[in-house]
Amino acid sequence: MNTQDTFVLGGKEFHSRFILGSGKYSMDLIKAAVEYAKAEIITLAVRRTNTKKEENILDYIPKNVTLLPNTSGARDAKEAVRIARMSRELGCGDFVKVEIMRDSKYLLPDNSETIKATEMLAKEGFVVLPYMYPDLYAARDLVNAGAAAVMPLASPIGSNKGLATKEFIQILVDEIDLPIIVDAGIGRPSQACEAMEMGAAAIMANTAIATAGDIPTMAKAFGNAIEAGRQAYLAGLGRVLERGASASDPLTGFLRD
């Protein structure tokens, strides 16, 4: 077993494959994610950076954690670029998760605007992680646009419905040569584990932990599940029998010459 199992984003090496999303925000959640799920990357909505003076979210994030500001609130590529620049000015670094939504009900990402924004931001030297609907062509365009990873959604954000787009995420894992980070909709540790078994590079989750009865314990459960899934992937999953048992006598035993 490879003990140096890391993955690289924007030239930075990460050991933990759990990324904390930003949707539901709480100081307890950040603490739990870092302590119990060993998160090394934490998403931060630029639109929520400044809060009550004595409780600035930035103060609660340990220095060894990489901030991943997102462009939530952007409705097109231009707005996403402006928010990314603001985040850089605020001192949040060069990482940016592009999120562009033109639907307030499902908050589904707009792939075509996301591709445009990715290209513009990559040219400005950002490490761009685009949140996208798992479509192979869009993913290829994102690679060409200069993305550092691709972040397909598992199911509508906040829905806790798990891997509704499983087949399509598998295609991205198989065909795209960048880390595939599964984002949005993961509701249970078992679903996170499954995505990792499929070959995802990392999992981003938020609601599932934020709304759990016991946040630290749920954070720990996610950390363990992600690690287990990763190990299963590295070990090479055993044969899965899709239908019934296999015959012990070969079906082709009658062949003679």
Binding site: G23, K24, Y25, S26, A45, V46, R47, R48, N50, T51, K52, K53, G73, A74, R75, E79, R82, I83, M86, M101, R102, D103, S104, K105, Y106, L107, G158, S159, N160, N206, T207, A210, T211
Partner: protein, 417 residues
């Protein structure tokens, strides 16, 4: 059902004014046609009003039975039909189940966050005669419009308390509180706040575009009641009398580039079930037409006003209000729900755990009295309040109370681009 007695005669009105007031109140034929746009009012081509009003007219809530309510609660996605069942009297015994379902939907979309804002009234001059409102032009109250210096001072006091989202309000007088005056207030607010909403008289889409450029991004307009025949008897004079122009305000605001819009009926004025249905459908149909925009619903109940302390929300008790809010949440899980200080502490503390996502804090509905309210320092004469509030908690108290409930207060979740 009993009715509120709204008419109050001030002894300061001249005989002529009093006579006009009485004629407006008693003789419908002297009132203007409330379905006709007045000069300068933009008419947009929209089918949303037709859709909402026809659904409301056809809604017979007494026809729903418990089985409809049970079915609605079983469905993963709440249809318009399901929503109608949840608003009906048949749903009353299912209030606890509705609350539990609403809580799940709220936490899926908003986690345990509660947003804070505070209203800032900058003027209470009004040209309308809306018989239930403390600001109505015949009501004898202290009128005031803040100067730019006074507005800035109020904003400093509010910003110092920690608030980051402000809702700027005026009475409805375009002559006294012009669009430019409100625009200047927005420009000033930009210096102190992250998020600026407006609750002012409805304007045309180009004026909304101007106010957006000044820094405002949210427009709230209350239709008060969606039941047109009742609307006509409550809004006797002024531009607010024009029902369709008010109805279309949110759509014009979105056309003008605003990020989000808010809606409400004033519960207690008319049939609250029909009004609640229409309010949610107003947002629902506009969301389908403008899917990128953000939407929020409020749920004000009638409150006593200066010179008429008997005004009350009639049959809309806390249980009914809770039923409405749970139904809103289940039908529109992604939508913001605001509960103002018209409600008492125990209700607001309870409802944020179920359905509400935004509450006001450190509230005054008077004009220019924030410093007095926040610091106890006596100030110059303040203008009278629009209605009596029921929750006087300061921002810090609210912050503490909401945190103590295990919820996460959020002061800003917004970016102006």
């Amino acid at each position: 059902m009993s009715e509120n007695q709204f008419f109050v005669d001030s002894d300061k009105l001249s005989e002529k004014a009093l006579e006009k007031k009485h004629r407006l109140e008693n003789d419908p034929s002297v009132r203007s046609n409330f379905m006709e746009y007045q000069d300068g009012m933009e008419q947009i081509s929209s089918d949303v009003m037709e859709k909402v009003l026809s659904q409301m007219d056809a809604y017979d809530y007494s026809s729903y039975i418990e089985a409809d309510v049970k079915r609605a609660l079983m469905h993963e996605t709440c249809s318009v039909e399901d929503f109608k069942a949840l608003l009906s009297p048949a749903a009353a015994p299912y209030l606890e189940q509705m609350a539990q379902r609403a809580k799940i939907e709220t936490s899926k979309h908003f986690g345990n966050t509660v947003y804070f804002f505070t209203p800032l009234y900058i003027a209470n001059y009004c040209e309308n005669y809306c018989i239930y409102c403390g600001f109505n032009c015949y009501n004898d109250i202290v009128r005031k419009q803040l100067t730019e210096e006074e507005i800035e001072h109020e904003m400093q006091v509010i910003a110092d308390s920690g608030i980051e989202e402000i809702l700027i309000l005026t009475g409805e007088s375009k002559a006294m509180s012009s669009v430019e005056y409100i625009g200047n207030a927005c420009k000033m607010a930009k210096k102190y706040f992250k998020n600026i909403g407006l609750e002012i008289y409805p304007v045309n889409s180009d004026d909304y575009a101007y106010l957006h450029a000044c820094g405002a991004d949210y427009i709230t307009v209350f239709q008060e009641t969606y039941y047109a025949p009742k609307y006509e008897t409550l809004h006797l004079m002024g531009h607010k009398r024009v029902f369709p122009y008010r109805f279309e305000a949110q759509e014009r605001a979105l056309m003008g580039g605003m990020r989000g819009v808010g809606f409400s009926a004033l519960l207690g004025l008319a049939d609250f079930r029909k009004d609640a249905l229409a309010t949610a459908l107003h947002a629902y149909y506009l969301q389908r037409k403008y899917p990128h925009a953000e939407f929020s619903l409020s749920c004000p109940r009638l409150r006593p006003i200066v010179n008429n302390e008997k005004i009350n929300p009639l049959d809309v008790h806390e249980k009914e209000l809770c039923q409405i809010l749970c139904a809103y949440r289940i039908f529109l899980p992604f939508i913001g729900i605001t509960v103002s200080s018209r409600e008492q502490k125990h209700f607001r503390d309870g409802i944020v755990k179920i359905a509400a996502t935004k509450v006001s804090a450190g509230v005054s509905t008077g004009i220019g009295d924030h410093e007095e309210k926040y610091t106890g320092q006596q100030q110059n004469e303040a203008g009278d309040e629009q209605f009596e509030i029921a929750d006087n908690r300061s921002f810090d108290q609210m912050y503490g109370d909401i945190s103590a409930e295990g919820l996460q207060p959020v002061l800003n979740d917004y970016i102006y681009v």
